[in-house]
């Protein structure tokens, strides 16, 4: 009966079916990706670092020692994610677009406008390792 209606013809049926399947596939795709991500994602990373060094660029993190205080930042520039891997004149330098940050992770020159993401961490002094929460 429905198929006899001009509006709801065979073409409509196939179009709807394809659209439905596409949405279903996207949902499955989405679930698959994030299940996969959860399986392989890390809660924390353990890195060796030099506790005497004022700045350690370790993996994807920047460990900064200010007097007795240690702070850990993500090395991901808040502008477009470039890896910050250099410091000069008490500034962290982003090599891609020229943003700079001070050692508190605050941008001192654009284009970045947001501070670096700070991370929680635990230090093992005996083995000079640091465990950073991802």
């Amino acid at each position: 009966m429905l198929l006899k209606d001009k509006k709801y013809n065979r073409r409509f049926f196939f179009k709807s079916a394809i659209a439905g399947m596409t949405i279903a596939m996207i949902v499955v795709w989405d679930k698959m990706l994030f299940t996969n991500k959860n399986i392989h994602s890390l809660k924390s990373v353990k890195l060796t670092f030099n506790p005497n060094k004022r700045i350690n660029f370790a993996d994807n993190y920047i460990i900064i020692k200010n007097d007795e205080t240690i702070r850990v930042f993500s090395s991901r520039c808040t502008h477009l994610g470039c890896k910050i891997n250099e410091s000069s004149k008490n500034q962290l330098l982003c090599p891609c677009h020229g943003s700079t940050y001070n050692f508190d992770g605050i941008p001192t020159k654009g284009p970045a406008i947001n501070p670096l993401e700070e991370k929680d961490f635990v230090i093992d002094n005996e083995h000079n390792t640091i465990t950073i929460s991802v």
């Binding site: 991500k37 994610g81 890896k83 891609c96 002094n125």
Partner: protein
């Protein structure tokens, strides 16, 4: 001709693009064999270094892709530019519009698959941009990019998803699979020729400049100016929408659209050029004439031709495939390196430059840096981000690099500036009389002066940047270097590399520091004479330096006798600078005698609180430092990494020879009473100091001269006519350290005349006379300090010059050894008149002065006592504690001259 035109006539941009796509796909399939997605960068290096045929395929793949992009864009533009519109179906045009985006994505994934430092940063940018897509950002990122460092997904999309999509829409658009054969052939030939001559780029890993692929550099420039990067996504979408709607618009809108597109293209082209050629490290603007332009900009576009020459070394060294650089194919037998500089770990390129990816001898040595470590190239050798960037950044703050003190004092002596403490640099030398004097006679001794010849550091060595201190030739390397210089055919030197190490011997310092203050020679117990080489007596008491300077033996410094080297006291922050500028060497110096020879409890620093540089140096020199406690300097708290404080005892270690010493406390006399609290250790413990007086300086326009700044010979030079060299216990003066006065040794640094008129003819009869004393660190330390008379009853110590005191009718009289100088009426070697005041200009430092009249009287009061009472007599010993009460006990026999 007609035939050629016929063929060329069929070569539409579309046809050329189709041919290039086919070449790109075929070469991509072939490239999949040597390319390893698990070790992408290493596999590309192997292709470049070891497999010229694979390298050609890679180049064909790269260039066909770049040309495909160019011709596709021209094809699109050509379509827009046609007057009559060729109507496309909306669905096909939509897919073609998306196809432009897909082509860029295919190109970008290819760029990412190189996995070099540019690619890794590009990955992060793409990921960031993708995540900003509303609703689907995370889904798209996870689906098309995957995890950072894992190339599998990108590789799949590059070779399959995107390629298939491009192929389908190309077929749907052109209804052709195969391009016209002649087009395909000549496009292939041109691509192969380009691919032979120009190798596809690969970031060398040391250039800190990060740039995307050429077609994205304009976009990188836009992103540099955009804080809100979501705008860039909107711009891309708008651009694609404009292209999509373009064929379906009216004539007027179409015309505006074309003009807008043209303007956008021109603007993007300009942005691309500026990004490619005027952006350097950290995306800073850089002009082509700036110092680092070549290394930070041009090296990004390094390209070379493929070398198919059969190489035996390639065949015989198949194991080389796990090595980083092609240099090691030929130079793997070289020995002499310390572990941290072993080329198996660091490669050769990081120091020497050149081209690490080609096995062709000429190409690999092109633009090579034979002597790395000179300050002119330190930013690209020792000081790269991967190696010692922090030191490279501060090296110019070292006085050995900028010579600020020397220059400032010389200008002050020439009356060209009002005080001797102005900060300046050797690079600021101009054309004044003082600056020319410096260029002719002095500034060869600065670290910025490049080392230009290979060979060990010796007496005549000057400059050389990092190498000035860290270059060490062992006996094999020295012999090989010497043999090569004598006989160019000798190639032994290719086997023996000098080491670049922390073993900085006194000989490294000797070349420069055997001059001027002559600290190196003093320390070793040699005093320069005015004898000529041919006049030198042939016995152990004499030494010839640099083949012409004759030195006579004097007592050496007690530290030298014990085997202590220069670097045992002078730390890296003094020598390589700490980033701050200092006017004079005593300001930059941090070490002082009391840091080691302390009374009571020392200031210490635990190993875990060492700064990084000190911790690294300490561990490399002395092994595990965990739990150790180190002494530190009172000035600026610099850790003395070759000390150890343990069980209330301080130990000192030789950095080079690892000799161990127990540090002794200062003598009882040093800490007894308060009379000598402000007397520096060196004032008493310096046995002798060299001094020269009566020097005359004149410019001779016919004298064969040398510009030490530019290292070129020239006609005309300042000439120094030396007077007399002496060696005796130094004079004493007062240094005012921000209100704290300290008695220190001084020497007649500048008792001289300068004929400025000989340099500047307009200044007639302009003879400058100076009587300036300078603070000295004689480095002639003796364990037993000067006796009391040596200071209190010694005209030299008080600044009167050599001579004798006499007491006649209870009056103290001074008879000088030297005659009065006609310029100021003072004895030649004096600083001040007997019980007199200094001239207006009297010292090479603003904070240095001779004793004032009251101080002179106080010193001499004790001196007169010493004419009867022995140093160790009760009365003199008591006077150290309370001189006033001693004076009250004077007998009638005592002489009271004031």
């Amino acid at each position: 001709m007609k035939k050629i035109n016929d063929i060329l006539g069929k070569n539409t941009y579309g046809q050329i693009s189709l041919a290039l796509l086919l070449i790109c796909i075929i070469s991509g399939i072939l490239l999949a064999v040597p390319y390893n997605v698990e070790k992408p960068l290493q596999s590309i290096k192997d292709i470049l270094i070891l497999n010229p045929f694979a390298s050609l395929i890679r180049n064909i793949h790269y260039w066909s892709a770049q040309l495909f992009l160019v011709f596709t864009l021209i094809h699109v533009w050509d379509y827009f530019a046609k007057k009559e519109k060729i109507k496309s179906k909306k669905g096909i045009w939509l897919r073609l519009t998306i196809g432009i985006l897909i082509v860029f994505m295919a190109m970008l994934t290819g760029f990412l698959l190189q996995a070099d430092s540019d690619s890794m940063q590009a990955f992060r940018i793409l990921e960031s941009l993708t995540l900003k897509v509303p609703f689907f950002g995370e889904l798209l990122s996870a689906s098309f990019l995957g995890e950072e460092g894992d190339m599998q997904l990108i590789y799949i999309h590059h070779i399959a998803t995107l390629t298939i999509f491009i192929s389908i829409i190309t077929f749907e658009h052109s209804r052709k699979i195969w391009p016209i054969m002649p087009t395909f052939i000549w496009v292939s030939i041109i691509t192969i020729i380009i691919s032979y001559f120009f190798t596809a780029p690969l970031h060398d890993g040391f250039n800190p400049t990060v740039k995307g692929p050429w077609y994205f550099v304009g976009f990188q420039e836009i992103l540099h100016w955009l804080s809100s990067t979501s705008i860039s996504l909107i711009l891309i979408v708008i651009f694609l929408i404009l292209i999509y709607v373009f064929p379906f618009t009216g004539k007027k809108i179409s015309f505006i659209g074309k003009r807008s597109l043209l303007l956008i293209s021109i603007a993007y082209f300009i942005l691309t050029l500026s990004g490619m050629f005027f952006r350097g490290e950290n995306w800073k603007w850089i002009w082509p004439w700036e110092e680092n332009y070549s290394s930070s900009v041009l090296s990004s576009y390094k390209s070379w031709r493929i070398d198919f020459t059969p190489s035996d070394s390639l065949a015989s060294k198949s194991s080389s495939s796990d090595k980083k650089e092609s240099c090691l194919l030929c130079h793997s037998d070289m020995i002499g390196f310390i572990p941290s500089h072993n080329p198996e770990a660091t490669g050769c390129f990081s120091c020497h430059g050149g081209n690490p990816y080609t096995s062709n001898k000429t190409l690999s040595h092109k633009n090579m840096n034979l002597i790395p470590g000179n300050f002119s190239n330190a930013d690209r050798s020792c000081g790269t981000t991967e190696c010692h960037p922090a030191i490279a950044e501060r090296k110019n703050s070292s006085l050995m690099s900028n010579l600020s003190g020397m220059i400032s004092v010389d200008r002050f002596v020439f009356n060209e500036q009002e005080n001797p403490d102005i900060l300046t640099s050797v690079h600021s030398l101009g054309r004044s009389a003082a600056d020319e004097h410096l260029k002719n006679l002095c500034v060869v001794c600065h670290l910025d002066n490049d080392k230009t010849e290979t060979g060990p550091v010796g007496e005549t060595s000057r400059g050389g940047g990092c190498l000035a201190c860290h270059l060490n030739y062992d006996s094999l390397a020295t012999a090989a270097s010497r043999n090569h210089k004598n006989d160019n055919a000798s190639k032994e030197y290719l086997k023996y590399h000098p080491s670049i190490s922390m073993q900085v011997s006194n000989d490294h310092c000797f070349g420069c520091h055997s001059r001027s203050g002559r600290i190196s020679t003093n320390y070793e117990g040699w005093h320069e004479t005015t004898l000529k080489a041919e006049e030198m007596p042939q016995n152990q008491n004499y030494r010839l330096v640099e083949g012409s300077r004759v030195f006579i033996s004097k007592p050496a410094d007690v530290h030298h006798e014990l085997g202590i080297n220069c670097i045992d006291c002078h730390n890296s922050y003094e020598l390589m600078g700490d980033g701050k500028r200092y006017a004079h060497q005593e300001n930059q110096r941090t070490i002082s005698c009391e840091d080691c020879h302390f009374d009571g409890k020392p200031d210490i620093v635990d190993a875990e609180n060492l700064d990084s540089e000190s911790a690294i140096i300490a561990s490399m020199r002395f092994g595990n430092i965990n739990g150790k406690k180190f002494l530190k300097t009172a000035k600026r708290n610099i850790p003395l990494i070759n000390t150890e404080y343990k069980n209330d005892t301080a130990f000192f270690y030789g950095k080079n020879n690892l000799k161990k010493f127990v540090l002794s406390k200062p003598g009882t006399i040093c800490t007894k009473g308060k009379a000598h609290d402000n007397v520096s250790c060196s004032a008493c413990h310096s046995d002798w100091a060299p001094s020269c007086i009566g020097c005359h300086n004149e410019y001779d326009e016919n004298e064969p001269g040398y510009d030490m700044q530019k290292n070129i010979e020239k006609k005309g030079s300042w000439v120094e006519y030396i007077g007399e060299f002496n060696a005796h216990a130094p004079a004493l003066g007062i240094r005012n350290n921000n209100g704290e006065k300290e008695v220190i040794p001084v020497v007649p640094g500048m008792v001289l005349t300068i004929d400025v008129g000989s340099f500047n003819k307009q200044l007639h009869d302009s003879l400058i006379f100076q009587r300036l004393f300078a603070p000295a660190s004689p480095h002639t330390t003796v364990k037993k300090g000067r006796d009391c008379k040596s200071c209190h009853y010694n005209p030299v110590a008080l600044g009167y010059g050599q001579g004798v005191f006499k007491i006649i009718d209870k009056a103290l009289i001074f008879n000088s050894k030297y005659e009065d100088n006609p310029n100021d009426g003072l004895p030649e070697d004096a600083w001040i008149d007997f019980l007199g005041k200094p001239r207006d200009k009297f010292a090479t430092r603003s904070n240095l002065s001779p004793f004032d009249i009251e101080q002179q009287k106080n010193i001499l009061k004790v001196g007169v006592c010493l004419t009867c009472h022995d140093d160790n007599s009760d009365v003199m010993q008591e006077s150290i504690i309370d001189f006033k009460s001693v004076l009250q006990k004077q007998s009638g026999n005592c002489i009271e001259i004031y």
